[in-house]
Symmetry: C2
Subunit: 348 residues, 2 copies
């Protein structure tokens, strides 16, 4: 077990970390709680990814294939982490599931991802009450199954609203941070809806549009200029329902007027929170959390994967909301930190 | 030269890449055009870094020390890149400077950074005309030298305005993209100014405030709630001067009124553009550019450092605007890609 590593979490960050470590010849066990690999991309069946409109299934197939075909990587699915001990030899981790056994490793990578904010926790959105109010993740699942339809009656929506910052930047629900990707994901989704519905009215209700960096052109400008999506700066006070249609009540902060607009379909851009796995595993491995409950990056200017505990590393949205490409980069950053921790040298 | 690498650019991304490659035993030459290492952090003497208010000089000292003390890294400063050839052995690169010589390497990392947008290119800001209109980088230099003062008369400013998105998100100047960090850097600077000037009026003129992710709390909320900084959604039409004071003319898009406000000091949050080095080196190494002139990342979902050309990698803001911590992460991501390209294995 002189250079063995446990990677916990089979989403993009964990898959990348496991594949990279395996490529360099380290012995890796990848532990995933679900029965499939791919994290949120697989669970919500993302077909088309932000920012580059590339294929979600192709990404999962490539990342999962890279670990499954790697002789140095053992993949364990449908398994959870039991007791964890550390001694001079390294970590001893009890795996629970259909084949309980003990793993030993010198280093651990926490790639335990995020959970979406559940909009039921904020009654004003009517989520769970009105069938045509759905989350962005549910819209992705709808894209995967077929054309966009109103859940209430199966009809083609003539108007679609996106509500930004659901569960993010909102002290009332306890999440003061920004979830980074929801603005851009919503813009991507609006472009996809436009492709299906040339005549639908599509409106985005936002506080600030945060399609930062190079996402600005391909998502924000494009959604407005090519897809005719309308951005309205306004905070939604309440979603109600009238005559079988969700109604958005709020104030347009730019034209300074209150509004009450019906839509056929309302998409809640629900933010990202520390996953149950992140909360649980951070306790078992005794790593510090930052104030929101994400794993604290102890020295992000040195290496983004360092935690408060030597030998335990973090990658992906376990340390905060993150885009897929950033999670993949952090899988590599964590791999490198593990190799440096194990004092490896490379040979050509 | 079986595992030798040239890293071009001695900012955070290049320093990290060179140090990491050297730590793994690869032979690295780091080439920097200026006589000091540290990139923009050193050139503008950033004292306090976004997002964590850590020390800029300490970061540069650590990153530069890591390459200078590494027996596998040769540092060449005040040097530029001449002719580049590639044959079966790898790259042959002519170094120009006080000691011209040829370097040979199997892989190259372009870490050629960014240039700040020059606000002289957009006459409406009055930059270069009115002495109390300065850039964010010049404010950093002012912080390094002493307390904040009005350049025109050396007096303590009673009012400070920040204008966001100068040279960014602006089709008229040719830059449609967002520069990612200026919102957060301005928020950091406003907090620093408040520490010096408890009574000054500090106003931010923005389109969207993009303190994304976990920057939201420590920069945006903090600047408002602890530092009493006022955010005004409004685009500045023109900066003029009256009675020796810069005057901001524009429209407050939230309260829908035109305004004409004098300030003692105006800070332009100038965006990031592809550096001269990025433009020049991308030609010499024949790597594709994306539409704005940054180096195109060919497969960011696989590895952020891959370019259109095998053996040539990119790290940091050469591929687009980036925060320092992201540039450092990309230095590691590029190192890993180089090691994989050279088909190295690790030994413990």
């Amino acid at each position: 077990m002189s250079n063995s590593v446990i990677v916990i979490g089979g989403g993009p960050a964990g898959l990348q970390a496991a594949a990279t470590l395996g490529n360099f010849g380290l012995d890796v066990t990848l532990v995933e709680q679900h029965d499939v690999l791919g994290g949120a991309v697989a669970q919500h069946q993302y077909q088309v990814l932000m920012p580059d409109f590339s294929s979600g299934p192709a990404l999962v197939a490539r990342l999962a294939g890279a670990v499954q075909n790697n002789p140095h990587v053992t993949v364990v699915t449908s398994a959870s982490i039991g007791a964890v001990e550390e001694d001079q030899e390294g970590f001893r981790v009890q795996l629970e599931g259909s084949h309980p056994h003990e793993l030993q490793a010198q280093a651990v990578v926490l790639a335990t991802g995020f959970d979406h904010f559940d909009p039921r926790r904020d009654g004003k959105y009517g989520y769970g009450l009105f069938p045509d109010v759905i989350t962005g993740a549910e819209l992705e699942e709808m894209f995967a199954k077929g054309p966009v339809r109103r859940p209430s009656n199966g009809e083609v929506p003539q108007s679609v609203a996106f509500i930004y910052c659901v569960g993010s930047r909102d002290r009332q629900v306890g999440n003061t941070y920004c979830s980074r990707v929801c603005c851009a994901v919503s813009a991507k989704q609006s472009i996809e809806i436009r492709e299906q519905l040339p005549k639908a009215r599509i409106s985005m209700f936002y506080m600030d549009v945060r399609t930062y960096g190079l996402w600005e052109d391909t998502l924000y400008w494009r959604s407005q200029e090519e897809s005719g999506v309308v951005y309205v700066k306004g905070r939604i006070a309440e979603v109600t329902q009238k005559a079988g249609q969700p109604v958005l009540k709020g104030e347009d902060t730019l034209v300074r007027g209150p509004f009450e607009w019906p839509f056929d379909l309302v998409v809640l851009a629900a933010g990202m929170e520390p996953s149950q796995g992140t909360r649980l595993l951070s306790q078992k491995f005794h790593v510090d959390l930052e104030p929101h409950g994400f794993v604290q990056q102890s020295e992000p200017m040195r290496n983004a994967s360092l935690t408060s505990r030597p030998g335990v590393f973090v990658a992906g949205s376990a340390s905060g909301p993150k885009a897929i490409e950033d999670a993949i980069a952090e899988g590599d950053v964590a791999s490198l930190a593990v190799m440096q921790y194990l004092k490896t040298k490379v040979v050509v």
